[in-house]
Amino acid sequence: MTSRGTPSRFLRSVLQNGVGRYVCQLKRISIVFSKKAQSSLGARDFIEEGVVDYANKNPGTVVYVSPQPCRVPKIVAEYLNGNVREETITSKTSQQISELLTKLTNQSGLEIIRIRKPFHTDSPSIQGLWHPFTNRPPSIGPLRPQKPDSQ
């Protein structure tokens, strides 16, 4: 749909990530696959070869591997802000699954919708906001209280 018909949000990070230390936003990954089906072939290959390396490279993420009788193998990713993302990996190769996993690791859990502005500041003005009287000399002299006429 158009950007007007779809939800949008402003650019932000989860809990000011990056100001101090960078924290990987991926909390938990569950790989749901089947032991016998043809569509989970790539998933099984990935679990044979790449899952242990991935888990060692990302110590902050918990990896769950659950073989179940299922038709559609999927990866369920949970993020620190509570969002859950499911990606199906039917008929994907092991290489594609590892690329997908790196992509999910590099994301934060915020929704993938239109971002309104490509920047965000908490202190937008340092030298003061402009108003029509900035940098203009006063046209009338300094105002003094008028002396009453009786005195």
Binding site: S13, N17, V19, Q25, I112, S123, I126, G128
Partner: protein, 195 residues
């Protein structure tokens, strides 16, 4: 139409009346290759449209004023007497006005992993509350240091690119997903050495 032509004639006559050799713009000083003796070709943008006013101060007074300003700014920088700094940085084909702790979204892939620190080198302007340092066009790398951290490398939302011609039975639809990088500006540092 006729009014604009009359005004164009007016500007041209004013230009002919004014003495040309007094106008010494820095651009004129740089290019001195013309055979006829004119430093730069005269265009409508060679001088501003307002009348040129001679400055009320003499050359020595102006120099002393400039020196005073420079020494004040140098003192402020040496004593680190400034608060929050902002900078204009040229990055990813765009110029951003940037402070510490703010976020920037780049619409392409950057060769740095999540969590790595990046130094932004093309700084055009640095300002504090009381002074600004303007580069011509860039400031030196030993003067300013701007560091950023890569926070997130995602993809954009699926944008629809559709072309449609009415009454021609032509329509094409394409979904565009671009890689995005989010940077967090960690801070701007100003070095206590200004030439």
């Amino acid at each position: 139409m006729s009014a604009s032509m009359a005004y164009a004639g007016l500007w041209r006559t004013c230009r002919m009346l004014l003495p040309r050799h007094h106008v010494l713009s820095p651009a004129a000083i740089r290019t001195q290759s013309s055979a006829s003796g004119d430093l730069m070709p005269w265009t409508s943008l060679s001088r501003p449209p307002w009348p040129e006013q001679p400055s009320p101060y003499s050359a020595e007074e102006e120099q002393s004023r400039h020196a005073a300003v420079v020494s004040t700014v140098n003192q402020r920088i040496n004593l680190r007497d400034f608060g929050r700094l902002f900078a204009v940085v040229h990055f990813a084909g765009r110029q951003w006005k940037v402070t510490g702790e703010d976020l920037i979204l780049i619409e392409n892939h950057i060769e740095a992993e999540c969590g790595e620190r990046i130094r932004m080198e093309k700084v055009l302007l640095v300002g504090a509350e009381d002074f600004t340092l303007i580069g011509r066009p860039l400031l030196g790398k030993e003067l300013v240091r701007i560091e950023a951290t890569v926070i997130e490398k995602t993809e954009s939302w699926p944008k629809v690119h559709m072309r449609f011609w009415k009454r021609h039975r032509f329509q094409r639809k394409r979904i565009i997903i671009q890689p995005q990088t989010v940077l967090r500006i960690n801070g701007i540092e100003l070095a206590p050495r200004l030439t």
